[in-house]
C-alpha cells in the first residue's frame, strides 16, 4: 500500500486534530509560558513561618510603633502596632521602609578608618584602642571632645553626654529642630522645666502656626490619628483644624482653614492673636504677664498685616474661633521642622497659657546620674557653636562624635558647616548608613539599624502626655555593627570614666525601673503613658521676646523650606521604595523643583520649568520652577532632603540640597540661630 497524496493529507490533518484531544499542546503552551518567565536571575520568594515582632522604629524623627513582619525569620516588611497608643496601627512613609532599609545599599558594612581619600576596614577592637589612645590625652580639657546628636528622645544621649562630662567636656549638642527651639524658649528664656506638650487628643480646635503636624512636626502618625479620630468620615467633626503658614502644606490640605502667613511672620501673627485674646479678657498666671500684655498690644491688626501679611478679618476670625473653642491648642513650629525663632516658640507658649491649654510634660528620671539634664542640652545652639569654632572663638574639637545625625548635610549653610566639621581632629560618625557626614568622617563606627538594636524613646516632642517606649532587636544583624551606647560604655571603662553601667541594656532597665514601667510590657510593644503633669511655672520672657519680635522684616523673596517625611530626613535619605512617592513638582530626573505662585514667578521674570539659581547664606543651588498657587506671593517653597552627595544610586546627585541656602542670623534678644523665612535671591539661568 503506497502513500498517496490523499492518504498523506488525511494523516497530517488527522494527526493534527488528534493531538488536540491529547494534553500535549496545552501542556506545551502552558510550560512555555511558565518557563519563558522563569529565569534564574529573578528573585524567588523565601518560604517559612510568617511572624511579626513588635518594636519601636526610629527611622523617622519621632518614631513609629511597628510590628516587623518576618518570613522564615527574615524581616521583609512592617505593619503598624494597633495596640500601641502612640501610632495606633499607622506607619509613616519612612518607617514603612524599615525592613528594606535593613539591606539598603547605603549601609556601612563595619567599622572603617579613613585612609587617604578612601576607607579601610578595621576591627571594633582596633577602633576602640584608637579612640582610647586619642581621648586619653584630652581628658579634662574643656571643649576638646564634643558630640552632636540627632536623637531627641533616646537614653543613649545620657550615656554619650555622661561620657563627655566624665572627660570634662560639656560640648554636647543636639541637631536643630522644633524641639530644640522650644527648649531654648521654655527651658532657656522662660525658665520653665520639663517639656512642652500638645494635647491634640483632648482638643476641639487645633491651630498650627507654621507647624506642619501631618508631615514634619513631631510624631506625625500620632498627630494624624489624633485629628482623624475626631473627624469621622460620616458624623460630626469634633475638632477644627486651622493652619497658618506661607505654604498650603499637607496639614493645610486637610485643614478647615488655611491662613497664609509670611515665613517670618509667625511670631507677629501669634502675638496679634494674644493681643486680641487679652483684650477679650484672657489672662495667664505665668510671670511677667503685664509686660507681655504691653508687648502684645503693639501687635494690633495693622501691625500684624504689615509683619505677617495677614488681613484683619482673617486674624479676627482665628481669634474668635480660639475664644469660642472649649479646648483649643496652638502648635507652633517651622514648616521645615527647624530654624524657627525663639520668639514664635515663646509666643506659642503664651497663647496656650492664655487659652488655658498649656501642657508641660515632666522629664523622666535619668538613668546615668551624672549625665547633664536633657532640657539644658536641648536648649543649646549647635549652629552658633560651630560658627564660633569656625571663627576661632570656641576651641576646635580634637574628637567630634556624631550620633544619629548628619550635620554635614542637614545643618543650615550646609557647605560651610561641613567645612567646619572637617576641622575636627578626629570626626567620628556612628551612622548606620554612608551619609554625607560619614563620608567626611575619619572614623565610621556603624550603629545597628533600629530593628537590630535595643533603644528607647522618652516623650518624643509633640506628644500630650509623658510617654516612654522601648525598641528591641527584632531582626538579625545584617552588618558588623555595634550599639553606640554599648561601645561608649566600653570606651568609658577603658578610660576610667565611671558611668555606673557596663551595658546599655542595664541602663535601660534602670530607666524603666526608675519611671515605674514594666519592661516586659514595653518589650512587647506597649507604651508607658503617664498622666503626671509637669510644672507650668515660668516667666513669659517678654523683654527678650520684645527685642526678637521687633527684628526688621526680611526684604525681597523669602524662602520657605519644607520638610516632607516621604523624601526623608536629614539623617535618612529617601529610601529606594519611597523615591516613587516624590512628586514631579519636587524632583524630576536630576532637577530639583522649587514652588512659587504665578504672581511671584512673574515678578521674578521666570516661568514654569525655567531653570533658576537660588542664592543665600553665601551658597547657591540650582532648580527649576514649578508653579503652585498654594505658595504665598513673594515666597519660594523648596523641599529639603534632596541633593545627596553620598548614600546610594537612588538618591545621590538627585536635585540639590536646600539646606545650603538656609541663611543663618542671630535672633535679636535671644541670640539664637534662626533661618526660617530667610531671604533668597532668585535669578534665571
Amino acid at each position: 500500500m503506497g502513500l498517496d497524496r490523499r492518504a498523506f493529507i488525511k494523516f497530517i490533518v488527522g494527526g493534527a486534530a488528534g493531538t488536540l484531544f491529547t494534553p500535549i499542546p496545552w501542556k506545551l503552551a502552558d510550560d512555555s509560558s511558565i518557563w519563558s518567565q522563569n529565569w534564574s536571575w529573578i528573585p524567588r520568594l523565601k518560604s517559612g513561618a510568617v511572624t511579626a515582632d513588635a518594636t519601636y522604629s526610629k527611622l523617622c524623627s519621632a518614631g513609629c510603633a511597628v510590628k516587623v513582619k518576618k518570613v522564615g525569620g527574615l524581616a521583609f516588611g512592617v505593619k503598624g502596632n494597633a495596640d500601641n497608643a502612640l501610632s495606633q496601627g499607622g506607619v509613616c512613609p519612612l518607617c514603612a521602609n524599615g525592613a528594606q532599609m535593613l539591606r539598603s545599599p547605603a549601609r556601612v558594612a563595619g567599622p572603617m578608618k579613613k585612609d587617604g581619600s578612601a576607607f579601610k576596614a578595621i576591627s571594633w577592637d582596633e577602633a576602640e584602642a584608637l579612640l582610647a589612645d586619642k581621648l586619653k590625652g584630652l581628658k579634662g580639657q574643656s571643649g576638646k571632645v564634643a558630640a552632636i546628636s540627632g536623637d531627641g528622645s533616646g537614653t543613649a544621649n545620657e550615656v554619650l553626654s555622661g561620657f563627655l562630662a566624665g572627660l570634662g567636656s560639656s560640648a554636647y549638642y543636639y541637631m536643630p529642630s522644633d524641639q530644640t527651639t522650644m527648649a531654648k524658649a521654655w527651658n532657656g528664656i522662660m525658665g520653665g522645666s520639663g517639656q512642652i506638650g500638645y494635647d491634640l487628643e483632648g482638643a476641639d480646635l487645633v491651630l498650627c502656626i507654621g507647624a506642619d503636624i501631618m508631615d514634619a512636626f513631631g510624631p506625625t502618625v500620632r498627630n494624624q490619628k489624633a485629628i482623624a479620630a475626631k473627624r469621622p468620615i460620616e458624623g460630626d467633626k469634633t475638632v477644627t483644624l486651622l493652619y497658618a503658614g506661607p505654604v498650603r502644606t499637607r496639614t493645610a490640605a486637610v485643614a478647615d482653614t488655611w491662613v497664609p502667613v509670611s515665613p517670618d511672620g509667625g511670631a507677629a501673627f501669634a502675638l496679634g492673636l494674644a493681643n486680641l485674646l487679652i483684650k477679650s479678657g484672657k489672662g495667664a498666671s505665668l510671670g511677667g504677664f503685664g509686660e507681655f500684655a504691653e508687648l502684645a498690644a503693639k501687635f494690633g491688626p495693622d501691625a500684624v498685616e504689615k509683619a505677617a501679611g495677614v488681613k484683619t478679618e482673617a486674624l479676627m476670625t482665628v481669634a474668635k474661633a480660639l475664644l469660642m473653642a472649649k479646648n483649643p491648642v496652638v502648635v507652633v513650629g517651622s514648616g521645615s521642622g527647624q530654624g524657627g525663632g525663639v520668639a514664635l516658640a515663646a509666643a506659642g507658649v503664651a497663647l496656650n497659657a492664655l487659652l488655658g491649654s498649656l501642657t508641660v510634660l515632666p522629664e523622666f528620671p535619668k538613668a546615668v546620674s551624672h549625665a547633664p539634664d536633657r532640657s539644658g542640652l536641648l536648649a543649646k545652639d549647635v549652629v552658633a557653636w560651630l560658627a564660633d569654632v569656625d571663627a576661632g572663638k570656641a576651641p576646635t574639637p580634637e574628637v567630634l562624635f556624631v550620633y544619629e545625625a548628619n550635620p554635614a548635610y542637614a545643618l543650615p549653610q550646609a557647605a560651610a558647616m561641613a567645612k567646619t566639621l572637617d576641622k575636627a581632629g578626629l570626626l567620628v560618625s556612628f551612622s548606620t548608613y554612608m551619609d554625607e557626614t560619614a563620608a567626611l568622617a575619619d572614623l565610621i563606627l556603624p550603629a545597628p539599624h533600629p530593628f537590630e538594636r535595643l533603644d528607647d524613646a522618652q516623650s518624643p516632642y509633640g506628644l500630650g502626655k509623658a510617654t516612654y517606649l522601648l525598641a528591641t532587636a527584632v531582626a538579625a544583624p545584617e552588618k558588623d555593627c555595634k550599639s553606640t551606647p554599648d561601645f561608649i560604655l566600653g570606651l568609658a571603662g577603658k578610660l576610667g570614666v565611671d558611668l555606673g553601667f557596663g551595658a546599655f541594656e542595664d541602663v535601660l532597665k534602670a530607666k524603666v525601673q526608675a519611671i515605674g514601667a514594666d519592661w516586659d510590657a514595653l518589650a512587647a510593644g506597649g507604651a508607658f503613658v503617664s498622666d503626671r503633669k509637669g510644672s507650668a511655672q515660668a516667666d513669659l520672657g517678654a523683654s527678650a521676646l520684645a527685642k526678637a519680635a521687633a527684628a526688621p522684616k526680611a526684604q525681597g523673596t523669602l524662602l520657605a523650606a519644607l520638610d516632607h517625611l516621604n523624601i526623608g530626613t536629614g539623617a535618612l535619605a529617601t529610601p529606594p521604595h519611597a523615591l516613587l512617592t516624590v512628586r514631579d513638582t519636587e524632583l524630576y530626573g536630576k532637577d530639583l523643583f522649587v514652588q512659587m505662585c504665578a504672581a511671584t514667578a512673574k515678578s521674578l521674570g521666570v516661568s514654569e520649568g525655567a531653570k533658576v539659581k537660588l542664592t543665600a547664606g553665601g551658597s547657591e543651588i540650582t532648580a527649576r520652577v514649578a508653579l503652585n498657587e498654594g505658595v504665598m506671593t513673594g515666597v519660594v517653597a523648596a523641599p529639603l532632603g534632596l541633593g545627596r552627595t553620598a548614600w546610594d544610586p537612588f538618591t545621590k546627585g538627585k536635585g540639590d540640597n536646600v539646606s545650603k541656602i538656609l541663611a543663618v542670623s542671630a535672633e535679636p534678644g535671644t541670640g539664637y540661630s534662626v533661618w526660617a523665612g530667610s531671604a533668597v535671591s532668585v535669578a534665571k539661568m
Binding site: S33, I34, Q37, N38, W39, W41, I42, P43, R44, L45, K46, S47, V50, V71, L74, G77, K79, G80, G89, G90, P93, A96, N97, A99, Q100, R103, S104, P105, M214, D215, T220, V221, Q224, K225, I227, A228, R231, I233, E234, R248, R250, A252, A253, V254, P260, E478, P576, H577, L580, T581, D584, T585, L587, G589, C597, E629, G630, V631, T633, F650
Partner: protein
C-alpha cells in the same frame, strides 16, 4: 455592558478630605507586592536614565495623585487622591485580553492578573481609563541583598508582563483560611478580617476597605453616601473604589465635566 452581580464585592472608600498625601500607602503596597524599586538604568540611545525620579518606567499599583481646584492664591485648594485598581464591575481591560490573562473574579469581584499567561501586548493598559495597569519594562532587581527576604504574598514578575493592584489578594485567601480554621464562614468575613496593605498602614485612616454588599461593613453605607463618587463614573465601568469628599470641586474633577455643565 451588563455587569455581573456577585454576592461579595470587595471595595474601598477613600476619604479625600482626610488624605494628607504622605505616601505611606504607596510604600506599603510596594513592600507587600514585591514591586522592586526601579534601579537607575540608563538608555544611552534615548539619553534617559529610567528610575523613580522620573517615573517613566516605574511600577506603582497605587499612585497618590495631587489635585487642585485650579484657583489662584489664596483661593487655591489641594487634595490627594490615592488611586489603586478600580476593580471595575465591567472592566475594560478584561475583554481586550487576547490570552485571558485577566478576569473578573466571581469571588469578591476582584480583577485578577495571571502573570504567566500575560504576553505583554498591553491592550489592557490601553483600555484602562484609570491608568491602573503597569508594564514591566525591566526584570525586577532589588539592590544587592534587599531581595533576601521578599514578601511571601506575591510572586515576582519578569519583564514583559503587565501587572496591577489586586487588593492584596493573598490576604483575602489568608482571611478565608483563617475563617475556616476558626469555624467561621469564609464567605461572610467580618469587617476588617480582610484588609489591604495600603488601608492597614494609612496613618490618617483615609482608606477604608470592606465588602460593599455587606451592610455590616463600614464601606457599605459610605459608598451610598451623597458625598461619595467614583472616578469617571459616566464611563459606566462601575468601579468598586469610591471616593468621599464634601468638596464640590473634588467631585467635579472625578469626571469629565465641562466648565458650565451641571453635575449629575
Amino acid at each position: 455592558m451588563h455587569a455581573k452581580e456577585f454576592k461579595i464585592r470587595w471595595g474601598m472608600v477613600i476619604d479625600v478630605d482626610k488624605c494628607t498625601g504622605c505616601g505611606a500607602c504607596m510604600v506599603a503596597c510596594q513592600v507587600e507586592n514585591n514591586i522592586a524599586p526601579v534601579t537607575p538604568e540608563v538608555d544611552a540611545w534615548a539619553g534617559v536614565a529610567y528610575d523613580a525620579s522620573n517615573k517613566l518606567r516605574t511600577l506603582n499599583w497605587l499612585t497618590v495623585y495631587e489635585i487642585n481646584n485650579k484657583k489662584a492664591f489664596p483661593e487655591y485648594e489641594v487634595a490627594y487622591m490615592p488611586r489603586p485598581c478600580m476593580q471595575c464591575a465591567s472592566p475594560a481591560c478584561v475583554p481586550v485580553c487576547p490570552v485571558v490573562a485577566t478576569d473578573k473574579n466571581e469571588e469578591g469581584g476582584i480583577v485578577s492578573q495571571i502573570y504567566p499567561r500575560c504576553i505583554g501586548c498591553r491592550y489592557c493598559m490601553a483600555a484602562c481609563p484609570y491608568h491602573a495597569r503597569y508594564f514591566n519594562w525591566f526584570d525586577p532587581t532589588w539592590p544587592a541583598g534587599m531581595a533576601k527576604a521578599l514578601s511571601p504574598s506575591t510572586s515576582t514578575r519578569p519583564r514583559g508582563v503587565v501587572e496591577k493592584c489586586n487588593f492584596c489578594h493573598t490576604r483575602f485567601q489568608q482571611a478565608k483560611d483563617k475563617a475556616r480554621q476558626e469555624g467561621g464562614d469564609p464567605n461572610s468575613l467580618a469587617d476588617g478580617a480582610y484588609n489591604t496593605a495600603c488601608a492597614e498602614v494609612c496613618p490618617s485612616g483615609a482608606i477604608l476597605f470592606g465588602d460593599l454588599n455587606n451592610p455590616a461593613h463600614k464601606v457599605h453605607a459610605l459608598a451610598h453616601s451623597k458625598h461619595s463618587f467614583r472616578l469617571l463614573e459616566r464611563l459606566g465601568l462601575g468601579p468598586q473604589v469610591y471616593y468621599y469628599s464634601k468638596r464640590e470641586w473634588v467631585h467635579r474633577l472625578g469626571d469629565n465635566y465641562l466648565p458650565n455643565e451641571k453635575k449629575a
